[in-house]
Symmetry: C2
Subunit: 177 residues, 2 copies
Amino acid sequence: MAQMTTSVEYGIHCLLWLVVADDTPLSSRDLAELQGISPSFLAKIFPKLEKAGIVHATGGVRGGYRLARAPEKISFLEIVDAIEGRKPLFDCQEIRGRCAVFGGKPPAWATGGVCSIHAVMLRAEKSMRDTLAAETLAGVAKSVGRKAPAAFPHDIRAWLEARVSKRGAARKRAAPS
Amino acid sequence: MAQMTTSVEYGIHCLLWLVVADDTPLSSRDLAELQGISPSFLAKIFPKLEKAGIVHATGGVRGGYRLARAPEKISFLEIVDAIEGRKPLFDCQEIRGRCAVFGGKPPAWATGGVCSIHAVMLRAEKSMRDTLAAETLAGVAKSVGRKAPAAFPHDIRAWLEARVSKRGAARKRAAPS
DNA sequence: TAAACGCGGAGTACTATAGTCCGCGTTATG
DNA sequence: CATAACGCGGACTATAGTACTCCGCGTTTA
């Protein structure tokens, strides 16, 4: 029927991690390796979320991304629009006005208002968008959280910390020339 | 967001003409020229509608397509699925199981059931499909019919007949060698 | 019997998606 | 204070899907 891009999938998964991280900045590289997805591709997605005001970026060494708002106030619809850019479901080509019996000059009754087919598609799109608008990051994060054992958030924090330590170790290995 | 293809747009417009034609077969070429769209492209769409049992084809000189069922029993959803082939809105890549802390062997709690993000997308898709399923060819044809003047169906039949006559004329011109 | 039909395969042009690689300016830290 | 870790943006590539076209086959009917 249509396509929610991989970018949207990646983006939402990452935002869910940012909910867990609870205001500690996470870099796009960390987020990518934590989830086994492409770091360079993920790096193209986050600026869009930032421009949409969903996420806040901080530069520099310990920088990264944090949610710009409470997860209760971030809907799936917003995220999808931020990443994919509000492409309409249906691109009406106004075929009704091209009817050969009009001979190039369609009468007003044929071209007035919204095309009936287009109208149906607009309703279908609205249904989808309404469903997406009703779903929030906080809601989904909660349902994910219910499935995970209590120790899981701790494991995540440990993994993230371990990465920072490893970076320190690499530095020590390279530095004492 | 997603894409309803041009094929769907063309297909529905044609089916609406078949409602007007009321069981007189219309060829894909006639349908194409009546609406100012590509005949060769339209010819690729109709076999799909035929395989889906929406339309019935008759071969030979005065052949063409007729609706296989009453327009009240043909939903937009059926048409879209027939032409585009039931592609899902969202293609879940099961990222939840790739989390680095699982080390390649995700636990059952992480992979069981439907991914929460996927579940949201499935609900959104269902909303859209439900809207499309509620809309029938007859319903839309009626709303189109209300806009057109009473003489319009007659004009259409005249145009269609004129095409057949022209073909006869071309034949007469070529035949008496 | 030839022109008008439907059907299917092959091929083309264009656009979007998914992804990579690079260099820039910024910032914390050893 | 240099460097490595950050975000950001531009340029690039490969693949796939969309929107077509063209051709030839078998059928039908005037």
